[in-house]
């Protein structure tokens, strides 16, 4: 009786591993899920947005439609974590320069100061290709609402270095603007994981019908 119970439990555990097998190569979809009236699962998606990049080009959700993109929040005169984030974002920029399916979006949390001209200067100093990495500015409330949708913190705080607090996360999104992962943008080894996960998403997107 006892043996049967143990065997039963082992089988159950094995079955659990089996069912997970397919998902180990798949990234989870993060955020609150809802169920529609027809019974379909509705995943959390980033809403439409209207922002300007360093070239003064209007950047909307159309630019990332069907593409994998990485998003983050920063400001140009940030004396704390931003330079490290920019260094790592530059790694992604160089790595995926030829891959049209990957786009990078960096949102300033200080749009009053970080105008198009300031972002242009910043991007040029880093040698950024504008079609790969868009540094975005626009309406302050719109940017802060977007940060909430990306599920990261962004706020003005006179006590913080530089006057703003914001997350150091890189957020990975798929072609349907669904969040697929968070990575510490200040740590090279975490960004290694992000590089792998982008490859994974690229593969699954290319093999999808």
């Amino acid at each position: 009786m006892k043996a049967a119970k143990i065997i039963g439990r082992c089988l159950l555990i094995l079955a659990m591993f089996w069912s997970c097998e397919n998902r180990t190569t798949d990234l989870p979809v993060l955020g609150v899920k809802k169920v529609s009236d027809t019974g379909d699962t509705l995943y959390h998606t980033i809403p439409s947005f209207r922002l300007l990049d360093q070239d003064s080009s209007l950047i909307t959700e159309e630019v990332v439609a069907g593409k994998i993109y990485v998003s983050d929040f920063f400001f140009t005169y940030c004396p704390s974590i931003c330079p490290k984030m920019s260094q790592q974002m530059l790694r992604l920029h160089d790595h995926f320069l030829e891959e049209e399916q990957v786009v990078l979006l960096s949102h300033t949390v200080d749009p009053d100061y970080d105008t198009v001209a300031v972002l242009k200067e910043y991007a040029d100093a880093l040698g950024v290709n504008s079609s790969k990495w868009h540094l975005l500015t626009g309406d302050r409330d719109h940017i802060y609402e977007l940060a909430a949708e990306y599920m990261v913190s962004a706020a003005e705080d006179p006590e913080a270095p530089g006057g703003f607090i914001h997350s150091g996360a890189f957020i990975l999104l798929d072609g349907q603007r669904r969040v697929r992962g968070y990575y510490d943008g200040t740590k090279p080894e975490k960004v290694d994981n992000l590089l792998n996960d982008i490859d994974l998403l690229l593969q699954s997107q290319k093999s999808a019908p």
């Binding site: 005169y77 974590i81 330079p83 920019s86 530059l90 100093a125 880093l126 006057g163």
Partner: protein, 146 residues
């Protein structure tokens, strides 16, 4: 018998001291000890100038293999302490390089010595006394730095 016992007792008390001395020697020989300058650099500078002083593109100047670091000495203390203001007439609250008024002359000397003696900058260390006198004359140092 008693002398042998006494010797054993001495050894019993002595071995922790020998162990610590051995470990200190090992640390000294392998150069594992992190200098004060390295700690100050990691805390105050590495976020922007990066771990190995490599800088970031044309945005943040490198400190490794730097002609500037090699050709400047204790007078850099003024720039580090006061920061570099932004060239904007509207936003005086912004700084290109943040000020570090909390750093003492001793800390600044450790930091400058660290910068001058690492990453291909084959320079001389500076003393706290040199930094102190440089800090008394920051106005003319700023002219020199430019």
């Amino acid at each position: 018998m008693t002398t042998q016992g006494g010797r054993n007792k001495v050894l019993l008390y002595l071995w922790p001291i020998l162990l610590i001395a051995g470990l200190l020697l090992l640390r000294f020989l392998t150069g594992q000890e992190t200098s004060a300058g390295a700690k100050i650099y990691a805390r105050h500078c590495a976020n922007c100038h990066m771990e190995e002083g490599e800088g970031l593109g044309k945005l943040i100047p490198p400190l490794a293999n730097s002609l500037y670091i090699q050709s400047h000495g204790e007078e850099m203390a003024c720039m580090i302490r006061e920061g570099i203001p932004v060239l904007s007439t509207t936003r005086r609250d912004r700084q290109l390089m943040p000020a570090k008024p909390e750093l003492s002359a001793v800390e600044l000397a450790s930091l400058i010595s660290y910068l001058k003696q690492n990453w291909g900058n084959n320079g001389q260390a500076v003393t706290a006394r040199q930094v102190e006198s440089a800090l008394l004359d920051c106005e003319s140092n700023h002219r020199q730095n430019r």
